[in-house]
């Protein structure tokens, strides 16, 4: 039987790029269907309106939205569509997906993250499991990401340093802001280890990409130099050069068709003019980011899959997770520092690049009512995001009133010019539960008439306990630095840009959607390679693990297709 393509990939972000890159370089014909536009370095500007205020890289919520379901204080649940709410679960519908807009804090999972249940035991109401693979299976692919996507950093010895096959990172750390020294001094006095934060940002030119130019606007912004290791800059551009990739932007996949045997036989998509098309391939990969992947599978019913593709055990969409944790901030007020220090603190553009993982495992009987070690997390120190309108908008309330007039102007002046802000992002496991999942909302449809994803969000109390623990530790560090206005807290609000799960991998088809190779259990030619596979998320952002796993699955696909093709 002949097919249009060897492989069809739905999506082009971090879960898709390694598949596209690996198979195109091995000589296979790859079709990529991306619902968003195809921007390059020439289209990315430091424009707060485009990037953050007008949702310039995400769909218009009037046309495509989600429904969120949240728990009320009395234990009942309420749901509402995201249009005209402050919620937005889209994260970058462009070629390269949301990896274009990441900050690129790259941490590997630790060996214990791969067997959370065996390492720390069960927690009531949490669906904690061991992964079907170990850190050793993933390590070569973490290593590959360092070299191919490009990760800069410096390995230092600390209590939770994970094993590595390469001695150090292939690229030195990005240039550091003087704030990093202030963190180091404070941590040294407190007996805490600081780690130069690894970042998926090139500190020197490599692989036909330029080095970072330290514009000061990184997270949320597309990179104008190609230094950020987005799926597009790092993988897809290179794959395109092979001539083996047909990348179709503005291609919204609406249905994956399956044949009477239950195999995928075609994907259906609509183009920019809403014209319908179909395409087929030997193998199919879905990597549309966790929520949309589950939604697409649930919408793709067929005679063998009456409840959605791969959903014969009712597992698609279940165990959705986010990144748990906390946040904090503090201000180094200029009048407490020397003139020289103030000049240094005012430096703009370079990165703070400091992380602390001393509490990746926590033993604290007072907090957790147990002598047993608990899974903790990571503290990342970063600059306050420089978006000026967002910063100014946060200054407009005072004692319940809107602040305006001269008092507002005075506050703005003090906020922007009186000190340097430091921000903390703390990461811990967002425990999967029966109440965190994606389903279809049959009342709310998108502009193509398809049911939108309904996202039920459940916050486990353990997330909050660990979040508070880490937040308090970060506050201690900021106070030791001499910071004012120190604020730190755990957050039960799901970070909508750090989402995973929904199609967890495992060995039991009754309790998982994917097998250990990320193939859908009962659909032998369909794989899922975005963060959907992750059963427990670890205490770090997911992106490096998504990249690494997609490279791992790419090797499985390559083997299945017959290995590297000989050059003609």
């Amino acid at each position: 039987m002949s097919y249009d393509f060897d492989i069809c990939v739905v999506g082009s972000g971090a879960g898709a790029g390694p598949i596209i890159y690996t198979l195109a370089h091995a000589g296979y014909k790859v079709l990529v269907l991306e619902k968003g536009p195809w921007y390059t370095e020439q289209d990315y500007f430091k424009d707060e309106l485009k990037t953050s205020l007008r949702g310039g890289y995400t769909p218009d919520l009037r046309e495509q939205q989600h429904v969120v379901e949240l728990e009320n204080d009395d234990g009942s649940w309420r749901s509402f569509p995201t249009y005209q709410s402050s919620w937005n679960f889209w994260n970058g519908n462009v070629v390269g997906g949301s990896s274009n807009f990441m900050s690129g804090f790259f941490h590997r999972l630790k060996p214990n993250d791969f067997h959370l249940l065996s390492s720390y035991g069960p927690i009531e109401r949490a669906n904690i499991v061991d992964w079907p693979i170990s850190y050793n299976n993933m390590e070569p692919y973490y290593d590959k990401v360092e070299k191919v996507v490009g990760v800069s950093g410096r390995v230092i010895d600390h209590p939770f340093q994970e094993p590595r096959s390469s001695k150090d990172f292939p690229f030195p750390p990005t240039t550091e802001h003087p704030l990093a020294e202030h963190i180091d001094w404070a941590c040294e006095r407190l007996g805490i280890h600081t780690i130069p934060m690894p970042r998926a940002i090139l500190s020197q030119p490599a692989m036909n990409r330029k080095a970072c130019v330290y514009s000061g606007y990184c997270g949320s912004y597309g990179c104008a130099t190609g230094a950020k290791g987005s799926s597009r800059a790092a993988l897809i551009d290179s794959a395109m050069a092979t001539g083996n990739v047909d990348l179709r932007p503005h291609a919204m996949v609406t249905h994956i068709h399956s044949d009477p045997q239950g195999k995928v036989c075609a994907v259906e998509y609509v183009d920019k003019e809403d014209k319908k098309h179909t395409a087929d391939a030997r193998l199919y990969v879905v990597a549309a980011q966790a929520i949309e992947t589950s939604r697409l599978l649930l919408n793709s019913t067929g005679s063998k899959h009456p409840d959605g593709l791969g959903n014969n055990s009712g597992q698609v969409g279940k165990n959705l997770i986010f990144a748990g944790g906390g946040a904090g901030s503090g201000r180094l007020t200029y009048d407490k520092f020397s003139e020289q220090q103030v000049t240094e603190l005012k430096e703009f553009g370079t990165f703070v690049n400091r992380s602390v993982q001393d509490w990746y495992e926590i033993t604290d009987k007072d907090m957790f009512k147990s002598d047993a070690p608990q899974k903790g997390g990571t503290i990342d120190f970063v600059h306050l995001h420089p978006n000026p309108v967002a910063r100014a908008s946060r200054q407009t309330r005072s004692n319940g009133q809107i602040l305006w007039g001269k008092p507002l102007k005075d506050r703005l002046k003090a906020h922007f010019t009186g000190g340097r802000y430091l921000k903390v992002e703390a990461f811990c496991d967002w425990l999967p539960t029966d109440n965190s999942h994606v389903s279809l909302d049959h009342q709310v449809k998108d502009k193509w008439g398809l049911p939108v994803a309904k996202i039920k969000v459940d916050v486990h109390v353990q997330n909050l306990k660990v979040g508070w623990y880490l937040a308090n530790k970060s506050a201690d560090i900021m106070r030791e630095m001499g910071a004012d206005n120190v604020l730190a807290f755990a957050s039960g609000v799901p970070p909508t840009n750090l989402v995973a799960g929904g199609c967890r991998f495992g060995t039991d088809p009754e309790k998982s959607v994917l097998n250990p190779d990320c193939q859908v259990h009962d659909v032998e030619n369909l794989y899922v390679t975005d963060g959907s596979f992750i059963p427990t998320g670890g205490s770090v952002p997911h992106t490096w693990t998504i990249y690494a796993n997609a490279f791992r699955v790419a090797d499985k696909l390559l083997e299945r297709l017959g290995g590297q093709k000989k050059q003609v």
Partner: protein, 181 residues
Amino acid sequence: MKRRDFLLTSGTGLSSLSLSGIVNAAICSDIPAPSVREFTPQDWHIIAAVQNHIFPSEDQTPGAVEIQALRYLHNYLANPATDPENVKFIHSGSRQLQQFAEKNHSIPFTQLSIDEREKLLREFETRPEGRRWLITILNYVLESLLTDPVYGGNPDGIGWQWLEHRAGEPRPPANKRYWLL
């Protein structure tokens, strides 16, 4: 009378014709504006007066006039990419404020003294709709202060300079403003 002074004092006694001319000069939109046709010069005038009240000009620091807040808002409302609901909301809020002023003081908002305006706006703020409208107007003033000058506010980066804010490079060119990409 200079445009700045006029807008600062939101002067009285001008005919609607001259008012219209001055407001049009202030907004000098470069975008065709079918969606803002329902805004009368009086609407623009009251919006300008509110902007100037909540973000006043001072000797050393820019206010709504210097950052071209009215022009910026006009560009936003006239943009076909703008949600018509937002346009309707801003229009309806300005009408409600006018009615609120006339009900409480029997004269238009623009003829009130600074103190009377403050009192009235604080009263308007206690109404949920009024509060939402004032937050919205302030939000677009702050955008005009701190977004790229290519969008019509923040001329020559006057807002960035005042707050010692460093803009990032590359900045958006006119042909790649957010709705054109």
